[in-house]
Amino acid sequence: MTTATGAVSAFPSPFSIETPPGCEGWQELYPYYTLFTEERREIDEGRLWFWNSMHFPMPMPAFDIVSIDGPYYAVGAWQNRAFAVPPAMGVDYRIVNGYVYITVNPVTDPAKIGERAEYFQRRAGHYFENWDELYAGWRTKMENLIAELHAIEVRDLPEYEPDELVFENDHVSSYVPLLEGYQRTLRLGELMWHHHFEFLLLGYGAYLTFSEFCRAHLPDIPEQHIAQMIAGIDVLLFRPDAELRRLARVAVDSGLAGAFVQGRTPAEIEAELQGTDAGRAWLGELEQVKDPWFNMATGDGLYHYYRSWNDDPTIPYASLVGHVAALVAGEDVERPVEKLVEERERLAAAYEQLLPDDAKAPFAELLGLSRTVFPYVEEHKFYCDYWFLTSYYNKVREFGAVLANHGWLADGEDVFQLGRHEVMSALEELCLMWATGGPPLGPAYWPPIVAKRRALLTRLEEWTPPPALGAMPESVNDPMAVMLWGVTPQRLQEWAAALEGAQHRLHGAAASAGVAEGRARVLNDPSELGSVQDGEILVCTITSPAWAPIFPKVKATVTDIGGVMSHAAIVSREYGKPAVVGTGRATAIIKTGQLLRVDGAAGVVDILDEAG
């Protein structure tokens, strides 16, 4: 997809960005290759870098770089080296004041594009033609990967090795499995990202094609209608919330509604339920639902902060409380699945009918292909971003606990303040000192570094990253940038304009139709989800399906980043609430308490007053 960007403007040079006061030394958190440095200045200043606030809305903890390198190995390896998508290679990133900026490497040489096209045609063709067969094995592959991750045993280093080592000769010294286990954990993470992108690019490609085809023949078709025609109805991602609705109904039917009081902690609710047979039966049912459906994450999953519902049941319990209250009030809490299916089929049939005769067959065929591939686009999130990643960070926590046991860290959670190679290094020193019995350096070396980095991250959170840096490109060529991040030429112009002063109007992608007015609730972190009040308008960098429980509460949603297939958009359409996504800087410009008007069909957000 090539679209001219029109009027030329430029974003600030990445080299002109100053370090916020008190944040000096932030570069030490990150690998050398993640920084803007003089050696690459000429090239880097000529590229467009946009803040990937969709995946990385917060300053990066040192360990969490695995969640940048992992996906960008994989997206590049598949897109550039395996499928050889003709116009686009992989994604480069740089870190500025803790925030992640990305750019896509285009292929501009026509001869090279032609060469890649031959590879692409054969290889992508194979995937599209054998999609169901190839995808059938994917879930199993992921389930095996997750099982292998859980099977990694992290055993602390003992005072004395067990007898088996000496008498049975079938045991190696404890430091070996510890170091091996950590390395295997890292490798499994990379494997997960590899699997994550195997189908994703082609899935987006099919969607993009259908979208462009519709737009060519129906220039005024709302983007959300295109999305609605494709979107899966009965996809895996909606299962966790569906299970909660079911459990809520069971609770009401069993006369347990009284336990689900707003404001109670999950522990308080469970304590009351433990007191009755019906309550214990319900808790038994909950346990069965937990595997696998409580492997949802509380955020978009890429940071170690986002725990699973198993680790932090606040969100599922908040959802249960809401569903129970709705049921008691006589409301229907079920997703109107039949209605959604009917509407989706009605839209598809109506649009096909309106097309010129020679466009009807390609429309139907493309729609079919898009529907074939789209379940993957939605389902991979559950397996990869939620289930695997929350398990993976928990495994890393186990290594953190070992380091903390020996004084290398003050707290196991501090492990995330170290880069992945630093963790390796710390484990290696621990093993060495455990073996030699000599004086360790780690307990003096690491804690001050951790303390400094924690303070830096807190200060860096205060800084608002500009939406983009560097040159305004002549065109936007990359399907991923357009589809996933909503980086269109128009969006770039709007970002450029937004940099120029106070804003009372924000533009974004029209993601879910409808108009709503209400007070803003600006969330910078998923941990603040509990502060959302009924009838407010949610303003955030990005939402994830794990946030589904708050959608019934909010009137509308506004995000910084995202296209019409982003999850805020999908969930908003599900709930029939207006959404404008990809506004660039809504969280920086809008203040909690301000009165907003959100026009989800026009993609416009107006700030109606200055209160707040």
């Binding site: 096209a117 992508a124 060519a216 023949h217 220039p219 109506a350 390609p362």
Partner: protein, 351 residues
């Protein structure tokens, strides 16, 4: 006997030759159950009979025969003479009686619109509209008869003479029918297209709307409110509410219309609500289905909220949506390849 006139609801497209395009189209709409204000049509023959009865046939033929359309002074001279002759002649008694009777059937001196219904007009090939006069809010049998005569006379207005000359249609003596139709006291009126006339998108209805009679929108005297409404879901895909500074209303003195300023507070108020748009969308669908092609529809909504179609004609020159960046190919796979940057092999064939 009613040889010269017919109620609109008895007509259909088959009657175009006899009654002209507009009357035939209105009859067709009524037959399709579309809410069109009632009225009657005056036949093309009635005009010929009038010319013969008034002894004007030869005058007209002679005046037009030798006329050089490029000689503006001559055109104006001939036009003035013919207009005066046609406008001033007596209507034959039986024709006049027929007009009076048809008018009386519409009610007690109801306000009507008297418009030309020309041959060839309103066809998709040549939009001849606007070349003849329209008389609005005409009341009383005498006034209706006069307006019919003036419509005929307008066949010989200088622009009409010149226009026909440009079409190379000078040999034939021009003729036309006349449409007399009850007027809607429009609160809001405008034009709609059953596709987006700019982008060619067939999945939307494009509505222009302004306060008062449709004259202001048709004549381009206001910037109307504009809506693109999805045929598929009924939602407004795009809209722009504009300052509608003037409107036409019936003259309080009883006949004709007046152009007045819209009070400042009302000018920027959207003139259509959801219910109006839903009804217009429904009516647009019926009109399009009935004719089987895209239509350009004049409509009005009266004070009680009833929607009427005032006329409909095929949209001339609908652009097929341009698709320069559309993925190309003959299978879904080829289309995806094309979108992701694989050019189809030159000369076709499969790779």
């Amino acid at each position: 006997m009613h040889a010269a006139t017919a109620p609109l609801h008895e007509l259909g497209l088959r009657d175009e030759e006899r009654f002209g395009g507009k009357s035939a189209a209105l009859g067709e709409l009524l037959a399709g159950g579309i809410p069109v204000p009632g009225g009657f049509a005056v036949s093309v023959e009635a005009y010929s009979a009038f010319l013969a009865g008034a002894g004007l046939r030869e005058t007209v033929d002679r005046s037009l025969a030798g006329l050089d359309a490029d000689d503006l002074a001559a055109v104006q001279r001939v036009s003035a003479a013919l207009t005066a002759a046609i406008g001033g002649a007596e209507l034959p008694g039986d024709l006049r009686a027929e007009l009076v009777e048809r008018y009386a059937q519409l009610g007690d001196d109801p306000p009507v619109a008297v418009r030309s219904s020309a041959l060839g007009e309103d066809s998709a090939e040549a939009t001849f509209a606007g070349q003849q006069e329209t008389y609005l809010w005409v009341r009383g049998a005498d006034a209706v008869c006069r307006a019919v005569q003036r419509c005929w006379a307008s066949l010989h207005s200088p622009p009409s003479i010149t226009y026909r000359a440009q079409l190379g249609d000078t040999a034939r003596s021009p003729a036309m029918g006349v449409t007399v139709q009850r007027m809607v006291d429009a609160e809001v009126a405008g034009v709609l297209f059953t596709c987006n006339p700019v982008s060619g998108d067939p999945s939307v209805v494009a509505i222009d709307a302004s306060w008062g009679l449709g004259l202001a929108v048709v004549g381009g005297e206001v910037t109307p409110d504009e809506y693109l409404v999805s045929k598929v879901t009924g939602e407004v895909v795009r809209s722009s509410v504009n300052a509608k500074l003037v409107e036409y209303r019936p003259d309080p003195d009883g006949a004709g219309t007046v152009r007045i300023d819209v009070p400042a507070g009302r000018a920027t108020v959207p003139c259509l609500d959801d219910a109006h748009r839903a009804e217009l969308l429904r009516v647009a669908g019926e009109v399009e289905r009935h004719f089987g092609c895209h239509q350009d529809v004049e409509w009005a909504i009266d004070g009680s909220g009833r929607t009427y179609v005032l006329q409909a004609r095929p949209v001339t020159a609908v652009p097929r949506p341009p698709a320069p960046t559309a993925p190309s190919g003959d299978s879904a796979l080829a289309l995806v390849m094309s979108a992701l940057g694989v050019k189809p092999p030159a000369g076709g064939g499969s790779a």
